[in-house]
């Protein structure tokens, strides 16, 4: 496996990391567009999904939007954007495309999470005299939390992957190391870029998985219960 060794040499060479097309700059671009897109997607999808879930309406929309998102190629959307005036707007075409593909998993999971909260628990909370807002904040939201975080994780992984494809239409990000390698028939560079992109995706997935477990609202109460047993 000489290629792996060559890819490692590429990664270990300092000059490949510096400059406008260096790995640090590409990584920065990747994290920037992914972060902005994920925040915008959360700001759009979560209020809509949680509100619809609380009311128990719009289920068909929440589920179907996921299926529609699956059928549309990321590459096609990016390509179409690059042929519109958006092309000259810097990172905007990538960010808009990333938001479009991050919204479906967020929306679907948050909605399903809210709807799968045991109705008898919600009824009991109402019976205790909780208002709609209290039921939402103290009952539904904590119980929907696991699926909410699943949605966030899917969306984040989706966004990181989509940001890679943006390089195929000439936008920035880690994918550019790969496409530049293809253009110069430099296989070690292609593999090195792929390792960086895959590493970032796995890191994001892992960090969110750990973060979700640490921040689980029901986790804090569990140790005391375990101590009683």
């Amino acid at each position: 496996m000489g290629v792996v060794a060559d890819a490692w040499t590429w990664l270990a060479t300092g000059s490949n990391w510096s400059g406008e097309s260096g790995a640090w700059h590409r990584l920065g671009e990747h994290v920037y567009v992914s972060g902005v897109a994920l925040l915008v997607a959360c700001a759009i999808a979560l209020p809509v999904a949680l509100w619809l879930g609380h009311l128990g309406k719009g289920g068909a929309l929440a589920v179907n939007i996921s299926n529609v998102g699956r059928a549309i190629p990321v590459f096609a959307v990016l390509a179409l954007f690059m042929l519109t005036p958006l092309r000259t707007a810097g990172y905007l075409p990538t960010i808009v495309a990333l938001v479009l593909f991050a919204v479906p998993p967020l929306l679907t999971n948050a909605y399903v999470g809210m709807r799968e909260v045991d109705r008898s628990v919600v009824e009991a909370a109402r019976g205790m005299g909780m208002s709609g807002g209290q039921v939402f904040l103290r009952v539904e939201l904590p119980l929907a939390y696991p699926l909410l975080m699943t949605g966030l994780r899917s969306a984040a992984v989706q966004v990181v992957a989509t940001a890679t494809i943006a390089s195929m239409v000439g936008q920035g990000g880690l994918g550019r190391i790969i496409t530049a390698g293809f253009n110069t028939y430099n296989t070690p560079q292609v593999v090195a870029g792929a390792l960086l992109a895959a590493g970032l995706a796995l890191l994001v997935e892992g960090a969110l998985a750990v973060g979700a477990r640490v921040m689980d609202p029901r986790r804090r109460r569990r140790p005391t219960r375990a101590a009683l047993v």
Binding site: V4, G69, A76, L83, A161, M168, A197
Partner: protein, 255 residues
């Protein structure tokens, strides 16, 4: 105006949409129909090969996990790990092994389809009622005959739900194969972006979505034909169809 003059003006107007680089252009469809057909056929065979090979690999894995539950963690962990890797990176990592070939694209797509297929086949096998197994055992069915004649048919709705999701997302992902020149309609999108050819990008993109919708409907039809009993059950027990629907939405969204 004579017929000749009319046809001449129509022809010029049609030519103009190529010159003006319009998004929608009938002349493009007419003059490049051969190229479009070729790209569509490549798209279809790459998708079909990927999903079929995916099924051939996923089925034994799901059966293995059911027989030896201690393999469940590693198998599910590995397929989820593969699913996390961005498609562009996956294809690039396979480059040293396969070179610039369709085998590279098919292998990458097979690895992605495994996540959805293994999960859905496992869910389907788990959902087989114990009564049905018990009855088959009582009738003297061996483990293999039971698998093929009792469990597989009963697991079909969940399996087909998985095949539909895998097929639709594979059709979308095939476009990324343009990276190595084997992306079906993705090749036309790639070419169109580089030459800012609007009609080509829009037509190829629309065909991709059309292909995904058609494949989904055909598979749904096939599922209905293969499992006529589910429709009867769906009428008397709506919960049954609801269960398959939730299986379909269960795996993580897309790549």
């Amino acid at each position: 105006m004579s017929t000749y003059a009319v046809s001449q003006t129509v022809h010029q107007a049609a030519q103009n949409c190529l010159v003006a680089n319009d998004w929608i252009c009938g002349e493009y469809l007419r003059t490049r129909s051969e190229e479009l057909t070729e790209a569509t056929l490549q798209h279809i065979w790459i998708t079909a090969a990927s999903v079929l090979i995916g099924l051939v690999v996923a089925f034994p894995l799901a059966v293995l996990v059911r027989a030896r539950p201690r393999f469940a963690g590693p198998v599910l962990g590995l397929t989820t790990l593969l699913y996390t890797i961005p498609s562009l990176a996956m294809f690039s990592l396979l480059l040293p092994v396969f070179g610039l070939s369709a085998a590279l694209v098919v292998t990458g797509l097979v690895l992605y389809s495994l996540t959805i297929l293994v999960r859905n086949i496992m869910a389907g096998l788990e959902a087989v009622p114990e009564d049905a197994r018990e009855a088959a055992r009582g009738m003297g069915y061996g483990p293999w005959r039971m698998l093929w004649e009792v469990e597989l048919p009963l697991a079909l709705p969940a399996l087909m739900a998985g095949v539909r999701i895998a097929t639709v997302s594979t059709i979308a992902l095939t476009t990324v194969g343009a990276l190595v020149g084997k992306g079906g309609l993705g090749n036309l999108i790639d070419d169109g972006v580089q030459t800012t050819f609007k009609a080509q990008v829009l037509t190829a993109s629309a065909l991709c979505v059309l292909l995904a919708v058609t494949a989904d409907l055909l598979l749904l039809g096939a599922q209905r034909l293969l499992t006529p009993w589910t429709r009867i059950r769906a009428v008397s027990k709506p919960a049954a169809s609801k269960a398959t629907a939730s299986v379909a939405t269960a795996p993580k969204a897309v790549v």
